[in-house]
């Protein structure tokens, strides 16, 4: 479904990503682990067209993505929940959700899509008219995920969804991510919290300083001594 091959990105200095190759198959949840500056966010931003100068190949369902403007990517079926949530602060929950369907605004099933999001996150139903900027971090994360789902993505890119949230909220979010995946959406999940990421993902990649240093099933990564030392704190 998504194939990244030999991808290199630099912001003018040394490469932030160099020669990265990875793949997400239809129906999979794939985790990308790594420390703060490993290049995880850059990877997702490149897929979404936010970084114009990238070398290599990114292909989504036979369409090459590199060089495409960012606003044309959601229509292909890719939803992106950016790091730091980036909800529209002075818009209500409903307006945020509706903006998520902007690329698909002529669709006739927007009401059903809203219902799907509110079933997934019942808490948002109580917050329909509240300004997103005045909500808690966890609720904002739900708005951000809901907004991305409104575009009916086949692939969902999630950037640090658990960052800065209370453990109980994180658990709720990860249940939701599992549910989204069971509904048939592939997920590419970037996380610093490796325990959580590997508990929902089928497979994972470990990024270090812009290189993929390890990859495998969640089981094998959890068992890998290097991963255990560096990311699982064991």
């Amino acid at each position: 479904m998504l194939e990244v091959s030999n991808l290199s990105v630099s912001y003018g200095g040394p490469d932030v990503l160099s020669g990265v190759s990875l793949e997400v198959k239809a129906g999979e949840t794939v985790a990308v682990l790594g420390a703060n500056t490993a290049g995880k966010t850059t990877l997702l931003r490149t897929v979404s067209g936010l970084i114009p100068k990238a070398r290599g190949n990114v292909v989504f369902e036979n369409s090459p993505l590199l060089g495409r403007p960012a606003h044309s990517i959601p229509k292909l079926g890719i939803g992106h929940v950016p790091e730091g949530r980036h909800v529209f602060p002075r818009m209500s929950t409903m307006d945020n959700l509706m903006m998520g369907a902007y690329g698909d605004r002529r669709a006739t099933d927007l009401g059903a899509r809203v219902d799907r999001v509110l079933t997934l996150f019942p808490r948002l139903a109580e917050r329909r008219t509240q300004m997103a900027g005045s909500m808690s971090g966890g609720e904002q994360q739900m708005v951000a995920i809901g907004r991305a789902l409104m575009g009916n993505p086949k692939l969902l890119l999630l950037d640090e969804p658990s960052h800065g949230l209370a453990p109980i909220v994180v658990e709720e979010l990860h249940r939701a991510i599992g549910e989204i995946n069971r509904q048939g959406v592939s997920v590419l999940l970037v996380e610093q919290n490796a325990i959580l990421a590997l508990s929902v993902a089928h497979r994972g990649y470990v990024l270090e300083a812009g290189h993929v240093v390890l990859s495998g099933t969640s089981q094998s990564l959890k068992a890998d001594p290097g991963v255990r030392r560096a990311y699982l704190g064991v």
């Binding site: 067209g49 936010l50 403007p69 992106h80 950016p82 980036h86 529209f88 998520g100 690329g103 698909d104």
Partner: protein, 283 residues
């Protein structure tokens, strides 16, 4: 006194629409458009020519002003302003001030320096209500401004394009991620901003004469209104417009006409010094 209040509100409503355009441009693009008043002048000329050669009342010609100046604004944004969106503020100031000088001098060349005015049947008419005289051109311009403001509010609140404009103002990156073409949206927002101001210029044509340098008379007023309302706030600009209109017409009771702008300057400086976020918050 009450008379001055009524005049002030009627004038101020139009100032509100004129300044809303400036506020919208700043709110969405983050650029202070020093050339903004030049688009008011263009709107006035469009309405003047529509009156002179098509026989259109400026109140109807204002629609033409809106459409034409919208187109001009969109092109100016996509060809010039777009280049400095991420540049330091100094570059933006140089560009918009340069634009001001260029547009003003082009207008002098094309339209000539003479003052032009329209004559409409209701020019000196009005209504008497409980001893107060309500000037017809003031009233009609005010009504047009109110209608356009309501339409603007509806557009920004309900339409897909309006929502996209608000979204880009709040978070351009997230807007791109949901499929908004941010470059095009910046163009539309700039076009809309200058078109609102052009519309305001057209509807006041029955009581103000137009010349290529008319922008200079409105630039201080516009910035005062916007600073009063809080830069970037559309609702604030409307309230600010009415406050400025009232102050202007009240001060005419006390001071000679030449000192009208002095009062505006004093308010402008006082607001910046005491309440730089504007008189009202949010929106």
């Amino acid at each position: 006194m009450v008379q001055a209040l009524v005049d002030g509100v009627l004038l101020g409503g139009v100032y509100g629409v004129i300044a809303t355009g400036l506020s919208l441009v700043f709110g969405v693009l983050g650029v202070v458009n020093f050339a903004h008043a030049e688009f008011l002048m263009l709107g006035m000329y469009v309405a003047w020519f529509a009156w002179r050669y098509l026989g259109l009342d400026p109140l109807l010609g204002s629609v033409l002003s809106f459409i034409i100046v919208f187109g001009v604004g969109y092109v100016v944004q996509r060809t010039l302003i777009e280049r400095v969106l991420k540049a330091p503020p100094a570059a933006q100031v140089f560009l918009t001030v340069g634009l001001l000088i260029a547009i003003e001098n082009a207008a002098l060349m094309v339209f000539g320096s003479e003052f032009r005015s329209v004559s409409v049947p209701y020019q000196v008419e009005g209504y008497r209500l409980a001893g107060i005289f309500i000037s017809a051109p003031y009233l009609y311009a005010f009504a047009a401004a109110v209608i356009l403001s309501a339409a603007l509010w509806f557009f920004l609140d309900r339409s897909w394009t309006g929502r996209a404009i608000r979204a880009v103002a709040q978070d351009p990156m997230a807007s791109a991620l949901v499929g908004v073409d941010t470059k095009r949206t910046y163009g539309l927002a700039f076009g809309l901003g200058v078109a609102l101001t052009a519309f305001g210029g057209a509807v006041i044509l029955p009581y103000i004469t137009v010349s290529p340098t008319i922008g200079g008379q409105f630039v201080v007023l516009m910035f005062t209104v916007v600073v009063l309302g809080g830069l970037g706030s559309v609702a604030g600009a409307l309230v600010g417009g009415i406050v400025v209109g009232v102050v202007q017409s009240m001060s005419a009771l006390v001071f000679p006409i030449q000192l009208q702008n002095l009062c505006l300057f004093v308010i402008f400086i006082a607001v910046l010094a005491l309440r730089p976020q504007g008189l009202i918050k949010g929106a």
